[in-house]
Amino acid sequence: MSASKRPNFLFQNLASKIASIPMILTAVVIFVGCTLWTVAYSFTGSRLLPRWRWVGLDQYERLWETDRWMISINNLILYGILMMLFSLALGFLLAALLDQKIRGENVFRTIFLYPYALSFVVTGLTWQWLLNPDFGVQKLVRDLGWSRFEFAPLTNNDWAIYGVLLAGLWQGSGLVMVLMLAGLRGIDQDVWKAARVDGISTWKTYIFIVLPMMRPIFVTAVVLVATGIIKIFDLIVAQTDGGPGLSTEVPAKYVYDMMFSSQNLGQGFAASTTMLLVVLVIIIPWSFYEFGGRRDAK
């Protein structure tokens, strides 16, 4: 620092601070402000229009007594765990396969990544047709001769959520694959050479040496997949609309339906505030663990 005066923190890099005012305002007013507004109104008895009529924790009590909300939460947990595991595993597997310096890698990479470029609505509708017993996979296999073949998850209460999972995986694993592939390419070739000299088999090198080195990539992938899980809504609406019955309901859809179809804003706010709380409960300790530690090391 060449200035003789002690630099004032506030006026340091003044131009860049002025330039970022719009974004700061957006963040504070829209994200923080509207979130606080929503939290505050979740303690009111707002119906179709927001009204400041205090009801305390009534909305939350009702929320946790509602079967549909509990079903939604269970579905989200089931979908979330399976989606996370399978998309990471599939993504890594595909990336490792592509990493074998195969011919036509660009073609495969494009094919695997393409679903991610589609909107969830398109994915949902496509898979709705594919899983439709009268037109989709079941019909195709039956026409091929296996006349007793049954594959219709979306018409079955217990299996419908797995039908949604299938569509979600089809859409999401491509992105994980690309991230992983970038990570694999970032691994120093000397590591591979050293492993080969030591006579470690390829799959062992992947699992025990390369994988731990790709930790930052995994963190990125986990965050991206997790946000996709929490906000899952359009896929459900397009593919099953929560059905059959309530078997594929999810929290985000509960919020939407409460606000716009049940005309009960207070209940919708309470549900969205609960979702936010759950996310914070998971995110805050994890981010301290993940990012807090590294700052000390620097």
């Binding site: 229009l49 059905g243 716009f260 179809s261």
Partner: protein, 412 residues
């Protein structure tokens, strides 16, 4: 003939109007199926025929207005209101009316004497708040019908039933003949309407229904008399198990093709039979009130006119309101829609067997208000969620009744 009708209509409309303000009127509704679109086109033709105003069609798909209503509300709150908006009769728009967001139609209604010819008058009451009128009811739809495929019963070798009890008794014969006894879509509003509107009104009667839905007597809803509703629902659930469909019209299609023998559905199902060229009384039979208690519940659609700053738009709104209520437009619209007109004085000689049965019941005054008029959207949706959960699981009749009673107890 049609062109003559319309030019006559246009002439009369022009005679009414004193000044000539012209405006484009954006009308939002959710009538998107074939028959529905044809019906709403009658309104558009009538408005365009005035030669001044123009109908801008704002159809937003989604049964029950699930997508249209949020759009209408946010446009109003955002200061860019639409010209006219469809709602169901009753409490759906209650809060918006109370906020003073809709045009007051009282003067127009008094000038034209709506109260003298709208039948039943309760339709207007549902549009009224503090003595002022805010909407135009355009049709009457009722839920309490069961549609039977005559051919399916012939195949099973049994007579076409004349009431619910006979129908349940014929189920085994139907199954033996390879016909599914019933078809019901898996969506919430279908199972909910079937149980709380049709079975309740038809099997335990109008008064019992009103005690639960209007007076919100939760103890009675959980009591032994009302248990009959949920026991019948359990039977209906098992009779519907053979066919897995989602949409109501696919269930109706299963009945039309003879795959299933019966469907409990509102009178809008009749449009599907009509499209398939099936004749009431010959190819299919309809039993209002399931043949047990011949009562119809008054539901239906109404148009509201959001308040607008532009005087020309307001003039167009009032003119459209007047047209919707006029005799000729009422007839044209309801013949296409399959619903009953809201005027007691129109000529419906073109009506078929089922529609005449419906009109006769209306004339006798065996009507009760729709569930939407008695309960808020919030309660209705909670009940829908419960009923669809019951319908798609093995929940017992006793359990669903107890949960239903709890919802009635917390209704406001």
């Amino acid at each position: 003939m049609k062109t003559f009708k319309f030019s006559a209509l246009a002439a009369s409309a022009m005679a009414i109007a004193t000044s000539a303000p012209a405006a484009d009127l954006e009308v939002v509704h959710w009538w998107t199926s074939g028959g529905e679109a044809a019906a709403v086109a009658e309104f558009a033709k009538a408005l365009d025929a005035t030669g001044k105003h123009k109908w801008i069609d704002g159809a937003i798909a989604g049964g029950g207005g699930t997508n249209a209503i949020p759009a209408v509300v946010s446009r109003m709150l955002g200061g860019d209101p639409v010209g006219a908006a469809q709602f169901n009769h009753g409490r759906q728009a209650e809060e918006l009316v109370a906020e003073g967001l809709f045009l007051d139609l009282t003067d127009l209604a008094e000038k034209e004497g709506w109260r003298d010819f709208v039948f039943p008058t309760s339709l207007l009451d549902a549009c009224t708040l503090d003595g002022r009128l805010y909407c135009v009811p355009v049709n009457i739809h009722s839920w309490q019908w069961i549609w039977l495929n005559n051919g399916a019963f012939a195949k099973a070798g049994v007579d076409v039933p004349s009431n619910w009890g006979e129908f349940v008794a014929s189920a085994d014969a139907l199954r033996a003949a390879g016909v599914a006894p019933m078809a019901t879509g898996s969506q919430a509003w279908q199972s909910s309407g079937l149980i709380t509107n049709v079975l309740a009104v038809s099997l335990v009667g109008t008064e019992a229904w009103a005690r639960v839905n209007v007076q919100k007597d939760a103890a009675f809803a959980g009591g032994p008399e009302y248990a009959a509703v949920f026991e019948a629902a359990e039977v209906a659930r098992s009779l519907s198990a053979d066919i897995e469909v989602t949409d109501w019209n696919l269930a109706t299609a299963a009945v039309i093709t003879g795959q299933a023998a019966a469907q409990i559905m509102g009178d809008w199902a009749q449009g599907e039979f009509a499209v398939a060229n099936a004749v009431a009384g010959e190819d299919y039979t309809c039993l209002p009130g399931l043949g047990e208690n011949k009562v119809l519940q008054l539901g239906g659609d109404a148009f509201y006119f959001p308040k607008n700053k532009d005087a020309d738009v307001e003039a167009a709104q009032l003119e459209l309101a007047s047209l919707m209520m006029s005799k000729q437009v009422q007839v044209n619209f309801n013949l296409k829609k399959g619903s009953l007109p809201v005027r007691g004085d129109v000529d419906l000689s073109a009506a078929n067997d089922c529609m005449r049965q419906g009109l006769a019941i209306l004339a006798e005054g065996n009507v009760l208000p729709g569930g939407d008029m008695a309960l808020t959207r919030d309660t209705v949706e909670s009940i829908n969620d419960l009923m669809v959960q019951f319908w798609n699981s093995d929940m017992s009749a006793a359990e669903v009744q107890q949960k239903y009673a709890a919802l009635i107890a917390s209704a406001d």
